[in-house]
């Protein structure tokens, strides 16, 4: 896909209308992973609205979003910044060799209490 097609696809799958954003910044203010993010939640919305897809595709923040839905809950305009983050992460992870975690990284971190829920959710979020 070229950049225009990627942009169109992200708009199509993100499940939210970023043009409704009024730039109040509550999403970033509420984000528990704000400090870890190079591109902040409100920027995911504004960059997508202005078509600056490259900045989003280069972000490392997609691997730090917790999908906690705090940004979605607080938005006074019904925008879902998490939906944009997930759409970008899926765009990256669906490319060959761009998964967020590798199978060989898992065995060393397994302990006898690790819940299946953690492994399944991480694989569903990071790998396609």
């Amino acid at each position: 896909m070229d950049k225009r097609e990627i942009l169109e696809n992200v708009v199509r799958i993100c499940g939210t209308d970023v043009k409704r954003c009024m730039k109040c910044g509550k999403c970033s203010g509420r984000c528990p992973a704000f400090n870890e993010m190079d591109v902040k939640p409100h920027q995911f919305v504004s960059y997508l609205a202005s078509g600056q897809i490259d900045k989003l595709l280069d972000s490392k923040a997609i691997w730090y979003c917790l999908s906690c839905m705090a940004c979605v809950e607080r938005c006074p305009r019904g925008v879902a910044p998490q939906g944009v983050v997930e759409a970008i992460r899926n765009t990256i992870a669906r490319e060959q060799g761009k998964n967020g975690i590798k199978a060989e990284d898992i065995p060393p971190i397994i302990d006898d209490r690790i819940p299946q829920q953690l492994l399944v959710s991480a694989y569903r979020k990071y790998n396609k």
């Binding site: 730090y64 917790l66 906690c68 809950e73 209490r113 829920q117 959710s121």
Partner: protein, 261 residues
């Protein structure tokens, strides 16, 4: 009373206590949880991208089974509840997801979100009633307990409709019903670090210690949760500030059925 029950994969392995104490307690309260046939893992996270259909189908299978067997589906794990309830909402309200999922599933009768998804806590409150639970308590818990809601039960509130997302009360009401003293603290609906703990333990450590410190500062002896991943993160990355246990363990203890299994 019988109700269809979806346990999920973690409750069959690492979170057996969450499941076992829930069944024992429900039995003592007159409810039989009937595990649905051939359930599959729900996927643990709800896929928000609109073109993700296959990852929603296992939830649809369970929902359709429950529709044909009483019309209600009981959940216990916060993650399963979140995924199944959100997929159910899509089947009812998103024509494109409904069309594609039904097209793939080829059911005898289309599934359109008819099943009512109920979390175990909602069953305690709305089906059994906290008053009845209070009367059934034989060992009042008598401790200061902090309810940890986390994210998955509450958000997005428009779909989950579980409780007030900013000021929930259902778990505090539960604590009172079993004879405990609920401790309200600021971080009770914050995220523990979720699945990101697999990539970056530091983020989960910051979140988990902040949550447990917040509960401890308000005088809590322990934290209770309904989520295996929250329990894992809080125990592993919370530096042992105060203990975290499943809410069903305290319920079984209060009802005097903890050692019946």
């Amino acid at each position: 009373m019988k109700i269809c029950y979806y346990p999920g994969c973690t409750l069959k392995t690492k979170a057996k206590n969450l499941d076992n104490y829930a069944r024992l307690s429900a039995k003592a309260l007159g409810v039989e949880m009937v595990e649905i046939e051939n359930w599959q893992c729900c996927g643990a996270v709800y896929p928000t991208s609109k073109d993700e259909i296959a990852t929603k189908l296992s939830a649809v299978r369970s929902l359709d089974y429950a529709k044909r067997n009483g019309g209600k589906l009981l959940t216990l794990c916060s993650a399963c509840h979140n995924v199944i309830k959100r997929v159910n909402y899509d089947m009812k309200n998103d024509p494109e997801i409904n069309f594609k999922a039904n097209n793939y599933m080829s059911l005898d009768e289309k599934y359109n979100g008819e099943t009512k998804v109920i979390h175990y806590l909602e069953m305690l409150k709305n089906v059994i009633g906290f008053d009845k639970i209070k009367k059934s308590v034989v060992n009042p818990v008598n401790k200061k307990i902090a309810a940890y809601y986390g994210c998955l039960l509450l958000r997005p509130s428009g779909v989950l409709a579980f409780d007030n997302p900013e000021n929930p009360t259902i778990i505090e009401e539960f604590i009172e019903a079993i004879g405990g003293i609920p401790v309200v603290y600021p971080m009770r609906n914050e995220c523990c670090g979720a699945y990101v703990s697999i990539k970056d333990e530091n983020l989960s450590r910051k979140r988990s210690t902040a949550i447990l410190n917040s509960a401890k500062e308000k005088g809590a002896d322990m934290v209770i949760t309904a989520c295996p991943l929250c329990l894992y993160n809080l125990q592993k990355n919370g530096e042992g500030i105060i203990p975290t246990v499943y809410f069903t363990e305290l319920l079984a203890e209060a009802l005097g059925v903890k050692n019946n299994g």
